[in-house]
């Protein structure tokens, strides 16, 4: 069984909570544990917040964020694929941007841990960006493989 969704959102702070909740609800058909769901919400929140505060900055309210998700299920194991895209300022040096604690917005109390969290919390991560064109984050989460079945607190859809 495969499923697919696409969301287009205005790049405003109000949509951070909506975006992570929408992806979490979409993932429910894979029967994720609470901790898998929490990992997904945090990673999505990181990517979406980056679009708002970094990609578009002051013009955030006039621009859009694109989220695409796909689920695959093979037996008891599910996979969630997420792609989050913006058409904002892009990133000059991806390796530098991805290094822990690197931030261009320290004065706004950004921690520089966004990409590190996305990489740690998800099972797959890829970043593509072009200066002046925009940024694309791809993430993958395997559901139902990493944890002991007896420890899993199941979430009812």
């Amino acid at each position: 069984m495969e499923n697919y969704m696409k969301l287009e959102l205005l790049a405003v702070g109000e949509n951070e909570a909506f975006a992570r909740s929408a992806v979490a609800v979409f993932a429910l058909s894979l029967n994720p544990s609470l901790s898998e769901l929490s990992d997904i919400k945090t990673a999505v929140s990181e990517a979406v917040t980056n679009c708002i505060v970094h990609a578009y900055g002051k013009e955030a309210g006039e621009n859009r964020i694109f989220i695409e998700c796909k689920t695959e299920k093979q037996g008891a194991v599910g996979v969630l694929h997420i792609k989050i895209t913006d058409h904002g300022c892009g990133i000059e040096d991806i390796d530098v941007a991805m290094s822990p604690f690197y931030t261009t917005l320290a004065e706004e109390e950004r921690s520089g841990m966004g990409f590190t969290i996305m990489q740690t919390f998800m099972d797959g991560f890829a970043l593509k960006s072009e200066k002046g064109k925009g940024t694309e984050v791809r993430m993958r989460k395997s559901i139902g493989v990493s944890e002991n079945e007896t420890e899993r607190e199941r979430v009812n859809a």
Binding site: G13, E14, E16, A17, R20, S35, S38, D39, K41, T42, S45, E46, T49, I52, V53, E108, E109, R110, S111, M113, G114, T116, I117, T120, F121
Partner: protein, 102 residues
């Protein structure tokens, strides 16, 4: 996110309640800094994370920022009751080195 505070025996308890993300941290920052000013003479401040239902890396910046603010008054800061996922974020970012978990 909501902030509830009470002070007992020169220890300020600050309970964070709700979701911590970029969008709702601004107001909480202002409130927490006001508490730091108002309770500048307390011995220590304990941030209770029991009521936090969600956090992302915004919480790292938020907590380190409050650590600095309280530290300027010589007030020690601590963290308590993080959820499993909050603990993951706080451990990997080294926040506990500044604000020990109690």
């Amino acid at each position: 996110m909501e902030i509830n505070a009470n002070c007992k025996n020169e220890v300020l308890y600050i309970a964070l309640v709700g979701e911590i993300d970029e969008h709702n941290a601004t107001e909480a920052r202002r409130k927490a800094d006001k508490l730091a000013d108002d309770f500048a003479r307390s011995k220590s401040a304990v941030f209770d994370l029991q009521g936090v239902s969600f956090m992302d890396s915004t919480a790292i910046g938020f907590l380190i920022g409050r650590y600095k603010k309280f530290n300027r008054y010589g007030v020690r800061t601590y963290l308590t009751n993080p959820s499993q996922s909050a603990d993951k974020i706080l451990s990997m970012s080294g926040v506990y080195n500044l604000m020990p978990r109690i």
